[in-house]
C-alpha cells in the first residue's frame, strides 16, 4: 500500500509539472500560433538561476524565487522580440527554427556558466516529509500539485472571463480580424511570451527543488508537456491538466510495476498513438485545432 501511495503522489506531482509545461506552450500558441521549442531550456534556466542566487549569492529563498520569476518574465519578453517579433510576416516554420536557435543559446550558456555538475536548489520544504499509511510523502510534491491546481484555475479564469483572455482567443481565431478590431497584437504577443516564460520559471523552481538536477532537467519535462497538451487537445486548459495527469499516472504509476526499464517510452508511445489516430486529443480545443 505504501509503495502504491508513494508512486501515486510521485505520479501526480510529475503530472502537475508537465501540466505547467503544457500551459507554457499553450499561452503563446493561442496568441501567435507559434510552438516554441525553447521551453525546456527555459525550465532548466530558471532552476539554475534560482540555485545560483541562493547557493552562490546567499539570498533568502523567497527573494531568490521572486527574482528568478521576474528574470524569467523578462527573458520571455526578450525571447519574443528576438524570434516572433523580428520575424513578422515570415513562415511559421522559420519562427520555430528561431526558437530552436534560442534553445541552443540557453543550453550553451548554462553549460558554460555552471558546467555539467549536478545542482541543488534550496527550498524551505526540501527534505521534509510525513508518513501516511507507510508511505513517505515529501511536502514539496504536495506543493507542486497545489500550485498547479491554482495556476489551472487562474488561467482558466483569465482565458474565459477577462478581456485579455478574450483578446487572446480572438487572436487565435482570426489574427487579421482581431487586429482590425483594435487588439494590440504586438503587445499581446509580448505579454503571452512573458507569461509563458514565467510558467517555465515556476516549473523549473518547483521541480528543481525536489532533488539535484542537471542541464537535462527541462527537456524531459518539455516532452511531457507536449504529450499532455496534445492528449488534452491543444488549447484546452482543462484538457492539458487531465492530459498531464493521465500521462503521469501511466508513466509513473503503471510504469512503477510494468515495463520498468522502458517506462520513459510509455508516454512517447501514447503520444504517437494520439498523433496517429486522434490528433485533436480527448478534449477538443476547438479554436486552436486545425491551426497547427
Amino acid at each position: 500500500m505504501g509503495f502504491f501511495i508513494e508512486n501515486l503522489i510521485n505520479a501526480l506531482s510529475y503530472g502537475a509539472a508537465i501540466t505547467l509545461a503544457a500551459f507554457s506552450f499553450m499561452v503563446p500558441l493561442k496568441a501567435t500560433n507559434i510552438v516554441s521549442f525553447a521551453q525546456g531550456d527555459f525550465i532548466s534556466l530558471s532552476a539554475f538561476i534560482g540555485a545560483w542566487l541562493i547557493t552562490d549569492k546567499g539570498w533568502n529563498w523567497s527573494i531568490a524565487y521572486g527574482a528568478t520569476l521576474v528574470i524569467m518574465f523578462g527573458a520571455g519578453v526578450a525571447f519574443e522580440r528576438l524570434t516572433h517579433g523580428s520575424l513578422r510576416g515570415r513562415p511559421v516554420d522559420e519562427v520555430i527554427i528561431a526558437t530552436l536557435g534560442v534553445a541552443f543559446i540557453i543550453r550553451g550558456f548554462i553549460s558554460r556558466w555552471r558546467g555539467a555538475n549536478p545542482q541543488n536548489l534550496e527550498s524551505p520544504l526540501r527534505g521534509k516529509f510525513f508518513t501516511f499509511a507507510g508511505a513517505v510523502i515529501p511536502y514539496q510534491r504536495l506543493v507542486i500539485i497545489g500550485i498547479t491546481i491554482l495556476v489551472t484555475i487562474v488561467l482558466y479564469y483569465v482565458f474565459q472571463r477577462t478581456s485579455f483572455g478574450l483578446q487572446l482567443r480572438a487572436l487565435a481565431t482570426d489574427p487579421e480580424v482581431a487586429r482590425l478590431h483594435g487588439v494590440r497584437t504586438t503587445r499581446l504577443a509580448i505579454i503571452a511570451f512573458g507569461i509563458s516564460s514565467f510558467l517555465c520559471g515556476l516549473t523549473g523552481l518547483l521541480v528543481g527543488s525536489l532533488s539535484s538536477f542537471d542541464i537535462g532537467l527541462g527537456f524531459a519535462i518539455m516532452l511531457g508537456g507536449f504529450c499532455a497538451a496534445i492528449i488534452g487537445g491543444w488549447g484546452s486548459i482543462a484538457g492539458a491538466f487531465v492530459g498531464g495527469m493521465v500521462l503521469a499516472l501511466i508513466e509513473r504509476l503503471f510504469g512503477a510495476y510494468y515495463f520498468t526499464h522502458f517506462r520513459e517510452m510509455l508516454p512517447l508511445v501514447f503520444l504517437f498513438l494520439f498523433i496517429a489516430v486522434r490528433q485533436r486529443g480527448i478534449f477538443r480545443g476547438a479554436e486552436s485545432y486545425g491551426r497547427l
Binding site: I97, L100, G101, F104, R107, M265, L271, L292
Partner: protein
C-alpha cells in the same frame, strides 16, 4: 514550325545541368583538402567527418527542404542505421549488414509517415521528436540489441574490401568520398526526374497538387524514406569505420545540428547542406573561442541566418550571380510584353485532346449540395457539360459558382452525385477527374511561386509513367526519355500562351496576368479534353480579357470543352454556347446567351424583384 525554332530543344533541367560538373568539383576539393590536411591526424579526420555530416544533412535537405516535413528524427535515423548494421554484422558480412541497415531505416521511416499520414505539420514534428526520444531510450537500455552496456559499443566488425581495411583515417577518406559521391549521384538522378518538383508541389499546395493528379502521400512517404535511408546508410558506414558507437554521437546536438547545417548553407539546394556541414565541422576547430562556446555560437548563427539571410550561404551566391547576369544583360530585351499585344495562334497538335469525343455528356452533377455550417452555399444543383461546348456559369456574388466548381473537383466536401462520361465517381476524388482529362484553374491563380514556369507546367503533363523514385534511380535513362517528352509538351504549352521565354524564370517574378496564362498553360499541358475555369478574367483589363477570349475560342475550335465561371457578361456572350445562372445556391435557368438575359428570373436575381 515557327518561333519555336529560335529556342533549342532542352536536354536537361536547368537545376540539374551542373550536377556532374559540381560533383567533380566536390571530389577535387575533398581530395585537395585531404592532401593538404591529411598529415595532421585531427584535420584528416575532419575531412571525413565533413563528408559524413554532409550526407546526413543532404538526406535532411530532401525530407525537410524539398518535401517540407518538419522532422527532428534525422540524427536518430542515423543512429538506427548505425546500431542495426553493427547488430547485423555479428552474423553477416559487413556489406550486406550495411544494406540491411539501410533498408530497415527506410522501412521504419516509411511506416512512420504512413502511421502519421493524417497528422498536420507540427503534430508530425512532435511525433518525430517522440521517435527520436524512443531511439535514444532504446539505445541506452536495449543492451541485448546494441551489444554494449548503455549503448556503448566497441569492436564492431570493420569494413575490409580487397584487402584494404577502411578504418584508418586515410583509407576511410576514400570510403567516405565514394559514399558521398554516391549520395550526390542519387540526388542528381532525382533532379532529372519529376520526383523533386512533385515533392515541392505537394509541399507548397497540397490541394492543387491533388487536382494535378500528383499522389501526395506517395511523395511524402518516398521523400521521408529517402532522407532516412541516406541517414541510415551513412550511419551504418560510420559504425564500421569507427568500430564503436555511443548513443550521444547521434544525440540532440546532431539532431539540432542538421537544422543548422541545411539552414545555414541554404535550403534551396543540396550544395547548401554540404556548405553548412563544412561550417559545422571546421569553424569550431579553427576558432578556439567557438569550440568553448559551441552551442551558443551555433544558436546565434541559426538565429542570425534565419533573420538576416533566409536563403542561407548559397543565397549569397545567387544574389551575386544575378547581379552579374543583370549587368551583362543590361539593355537586353527581357522586358515583359503586355498580354494585350499577344497574337493568339492555333492550339499546337501536341496539346490537342488525345481522343475525339463525339457527341456525349462529359460531366454531369445530380443534386450537388454544399453546406458550410448552417449555410447552404450550393443547393441541389444538377448540371450537364456536353462535349465540345462552352458552358458559362454566372450569378451574383455569393451565388455559389466557385463553390460548385470546388465541389466538382473535390476541393470542398459536398453531397450529391457526380458522373464523368456517364460513369459515377465518388466525390472528393480529384485524381479521377485528372485521369479523365479534366483540368481546372482557380479564381486566384494557384501557381507555384518557388518553381520555374516550365516546372509548374510540367506538373500537369499527362504521362505519369516513370515518375517515381525507384524509376529515377533504377531506370534513369528511360526516366530521362520520358522527361524529354514532357518537356517538349510543356514548352509547347508555354509557347502557345507566349511565356516560352520565361520557361526558366521563377513563377514569383511573373505578373498577375502572366500567372493566369501560366495556369492556363498548365491546365492544357495535360492534353486535357475539358477545362473548368474559375473566373479566368478576374483582374484582367478589357484588352487582356479579349485576348483571353481568343485563347478560349482557339481551345474550343480544337475540340476542348469548357465550363467557365465568370462575371463579365459580354465576355461570356462572346464565347459561350450555353449559360447557366445560379442565385443563392440554386440553379435558376440554363439557356443560350440570346435568350437567357431576357429571362425574368435572371433579371430578378441580378437587380431584385420589381
Amino acid at each position: 514550325m515557327d518561333a519555336s525554332n529560335t529556342f533549342a530543344r532542352r536536354k536537361t533541367t536547368p537545376g540539374a545541368r551542373n550536377n556532374i560538373r559540381n560533383i567533380a568539383i566536390f571530389a577535387v576539393i575533398a581530395i585537395v583538402l585531404e592532401l593538404l590536411l591529411g598529415d595532421s591526424l585531427t584535420q584528416a579526420n575532419l575531412v571525413n567527418l565533413w563528408m559524413f555530416y554532409a550526407c546526413v544533412s543532404i538526406g535532411f535537405y530532401y525530407l525537410f527542404g524539398v518535401s517540407g516535413q518538419f522532422a527532428f528524427s534525422q540524427a536518430a535515423m542515423t543512429g538506427v542505421g548505425a546500431y542495426t548494421s553493427a547488430w547485423a554484422a555479428r552474423d553477416l558480412p559487413v556489406i550486406p549488414a550495411i544494406i540491411f541497415a539501410t533498408v530497415i531505416t527506410a522501412v521504419i521511416g516509411g511506416l512512420f509517415v504512413l502511421a502519421l499520414r493524417k497528422a498536420s505539420h507540427f503534430y508530425f514534428g512532435i511525433g518525430t521528436l517522440a521517435l527520436s526520444e524512443t531511439y535514444h531510450i532504446l539505445a541506452l537500455q536495449w543492451n541485448s540489441f546494441t551489444g554494449g552496456e548503455g549503448g556503448e559499443v566497441y569492436g564492431i566488425k570493420p569494413l575490409v574490401l580487397f584487402g584494404v581495411d577502411f578504418t584508418g583515417d586515410k583509407s576511410a577518406f576514400w570510403l567516405m568520398l565514394v559514399v558521398t559521391c554516391g549520395v550526390l549521384t542519387v540526388g542528381a538522378m532525382l533532379e532529372r526526374s519529376p520526383v523533386i518538383r512533385e515533392s515541392k508541389a505537394t509541399r507548397d499546395q497540397r490541394t492543387v497538387a491533388d487536382t494535378l493528379g500528383i499522389p501526395h502521400l506517395r511523395s511524402r512517404v518516398t521523400m521521408f524514406m529517402l532522407g532516412s535511408a541516406i541517414a541510415g546508410f551513412v550511419g551504418a558506414v560510420y559504425s564500421h569505420w569507427k568500430m564503436g558507437l555511443s548513443p550521444n554521437t547521434f544525440g540532440l546536438e546532431l539532431g539540432l545540428g542538421v537544422f543548422l547545417m541545411v539552414i545555414l548553407g541554404g535550403l534551396t539546394s543540396k550544395w547548401g547542406a554540404m556548405l553548412g556541414a563544412a561550417f559545422f565541422v571546421w569553424v569550431p576547430e579553427l576558432i578556439s573561442f567557438v569550440e568553448q562556446y559551441k552551442l551558443m555560437v551555433y544558436g546565434a548563427i541559426l538565429l542570425i541566418v534565419i533573420i538576416r539571410l533566409p536563403e542561407g550561404l548559397i543565397g549569397i551566391e545567387h544574389v551575386v550571380m544575378s547581379r552579374l547576369r543583370k549587368h551583362r544583360h543590361s539593355g537586353g530585351s527581357d522586358e515583359p510584353v503586355s498580354i494585350a499585344e499577344t497574337v493568339v495562334g492555333d492550339l499546337p497538335a501536341s496539346l490537342k485532346p488525345t481522343s475525339e469525343l463525339g457527341k456525349s455528356v462529359i460531366l454531369s452533377t445530380e443534386g450537388m449540395t454544399v453546406r458550410f455550417g448552417g449555410n447552404t452555399a450550393v443547393n441541389n444543383v444538377s448540371l450537364e457539360l456536353n462535349s465540345g461546348e462552352v458552358l458559362g456559369l454566372v450569378g451574383p456574388n455569393g451565388s455559389g459558382k466557385s463553390t460548385f466548381l470546388n465541389a466538382v473537383t473535390g476541393v470542398v466536401a459536398a453531397e450529391g452525385k457526380l458522373s464523368i462520361f456517364g460513369e459515377k465517381i465518388p466525390l472528393g476524388n480529384a485524381n479521377a477527374l485528372k485521369k479523365a482529362g479534366i483540368s481546372r484553374t482557380y479564381q486566384a491563380p494557384q501557381t507555384y511561386l518557388k518553381l520555374t514556369c516550365l516546372e509548374d507546367v510540367l506538373l500537369s503533363t499527362s504521362d505519369r509513367k516513370y515518375t517515381g523514385i525507384a524509376a529515377a534511380i533504377l531506370r534513369p535513362f528511360t526516366t530521362l526519355k520520358h522527361e524529354r517528352q514532357r518537356w517538349a509538351i510543356a514548352e509547347d504549352a508555354l509557347e502557345w500562351v507566349g511565356l516560352r521565354h520565361l520557361a526558366d524564370t521563377k513563377v514569383a517574378q511573373l505578373t498577375y496576368g502572366q500567372r493566369r496564362l501560366l495556369e492556363l498553360a498548365r491546365a492544357i499541358a495535360g492534353r486535357t479534353s475539358t477545362l473548368l475555369l474559375d473566373e479566368p478574367s478576374a483582374g484582367l483589363n478589357a484588352a487582356e480579357t479579349e485576348v483571353l477570349g481568343e485563347y478560349l475560342k482557339k481551345l474550343h475550335a480544337a475540340g476542348v470543352s469548357i465550363l467557365i465561371v465568370d462575371h463579365k457578361v459580354d465576355f461570356l456572350n462572346s464565347i459561350c454556347d450555353r449559360i447557366a445562372v445560379l442565385n443563392v445556391g440554386n440553379l435558376v435557368t440554363v439557356g443560350t446567351p440570346d435568350t437567357i438575359w431576357n429571362d425574368a428570373r435572371v433579371v430578378d436575381a441580378y437587380l431584385g424583384t420589381q
